[in-house]
Subunit: 252 residues, 2 copies
């Protein structure tokens, strides 16, 4: 983090933007202390970002503008896997009644780029753009299993195998074994490895060139996702859907 960037002011700008995204309606003084920068500097950036249209002033305080929504949406639209997965996500959510989501890897992290809520879906924090460590939940592991040995090591090197619950995989050899097993059986399981009380299942989506593009997943509370659902029914649904997405994806 302490390293020098070619255009340092961008760090300041995005620091401010991220702070505003995290907590809303902050005053300049608050922003200044949160980002640990002089008020005048923060002010310069706020004025600039506002002028460019990326901030909006509402009720006397600054907020992130919908430009980010637009840019994010456009970027997402352009992902082939997103285009192809829409229908299946919806279907998975309907069939299971739980949260269904589409995840891709970016910068060594698992990013949820789309979610659909089934009728029973727990009102848990699963929203667009949320980022998770690769090793903690099923979607990340499903992708992880198909990334290639060195890329995995590289990512583990950078982000570590942080323990989230007592079930989290924190040992490299354990991870290696787990990933091999996932490759073997074609889907990944997370039994309260990221969050106590939550299980997730995921199947990778692999393109014609053999590269993993992302994964489809179902999340649900442990009490509802019994062993049969967890290890048989849901994996089957996911593998079916993943397969369909793979076919759709390779049309053009």
């Amino acid at each position: 983090m302490a390293e020098n960037l070619p255009v340092n002011s961008l760090r300041t700008a995005f620091d401010i933007l991220e702070t505003l995204a995290a907590r809303d309606g902050m005053s300049i003084s608050e922003l200044a202390s949160s980002t640990e920068r002089p008020k005048s500097t923060v002010y310069d950036h706020l004025v600039t970002l506002h002028e460019l249209g990326y901030l909006v002033e509402r009720d006397g305080s600054y907020q992130i503008s919908s430009d980010f929504l637009r840019m994010g949406d456009v970027a997402r639209q352009r992902l082939e896997i997103y285009q192809s997965a829409g229908e299946e996500l919806q279907r998975l959510a309907n069939e299971t009644g739980e949260h269904a989501s589409l995840t891709v890897e970016e910068h060594g992290k698992a990013v949820i780029i789309a979610t659909e809520e089934g009728d029973e879906a727990i009102p848990v924090n699963i929203y667009n753009g949320i980022v998770m460590k690769m090793h903690t939940a099923a979607p990340g592991k499903a992708i992880f299993a198909h990334l290639g040995e060195d890329r995995v090591s590289e990512i583990v090197e950078t982000h570590g195998l942080v323990e989230r619950t007592e079930n989290t995989i924190t040992d490299r050899d354990d991870l290696r074994a787990e990933l091999a097993e996932i490759r073997e059986r074609k889907y990944a399981l997370d039994d309260e490895e990221r969050l106590m009380g939550m299980r997730s299942v995921a199947a990778p989506v692999i393109d014609r060139g053999g590269r993993v593009r992302g994964s489809l997943a179902i999340y649900g509370p442990t009490n509802r996702i019994d062993d049969e659902l967890f290890r048989e029914d849901i994996p089957d649904l996911l593998m079916r859907s993943a397969n369909i997405v793979e076919v759709l994806m390779n049309y053009d």
Copy 2:
């Protein structure tokens, strides 16, 4: 546009980001010529943005990362009107079979921050974050009608009354009269004023303090939206929903 900003490098950075959002998978050289800046400058920014995580390298070319999706989504979640309108949007889409959307004003423009597609919805370009001129379609006009004389003048001053179709309101007095009528009858109509073949209807959402927070709208093809739907049924649905959103919004 030629004016000087306190932090000029941000213009460069967002120029690059917007260019990348618009056209995907551009090489550095292409980006340099598109943004009319030296390659080395573009390179500096790309490296910085990549390091910060806002760009992703895929297949040897840069793309906007899902961070924008996250930031946009978070910003949107924080809008009270968005929280309150979710259910109603869905319902409107179901009831009409057309596109239902939620629009707010930002920087004098109408921004669609949420859409739901009904069964019959035309596969038209209505997506999150899309920006329209206030005077062209129903959602913008519905908001416009409740902004206050001087704010309207200010916006018209800045953005003009650009003609999109032969039906577009391009005269200030006509606009003033139209807005008065909208206030009167409580909803706005757009009869192919923005796009030939498309009609839209919108109802404003006004908070307890009398301030307009946004509008609910239905879009559909002229041949399907006959006069009765256009002037009676859809307005009724929208006014009902807008009213519900208003109530929900003022709970806390």
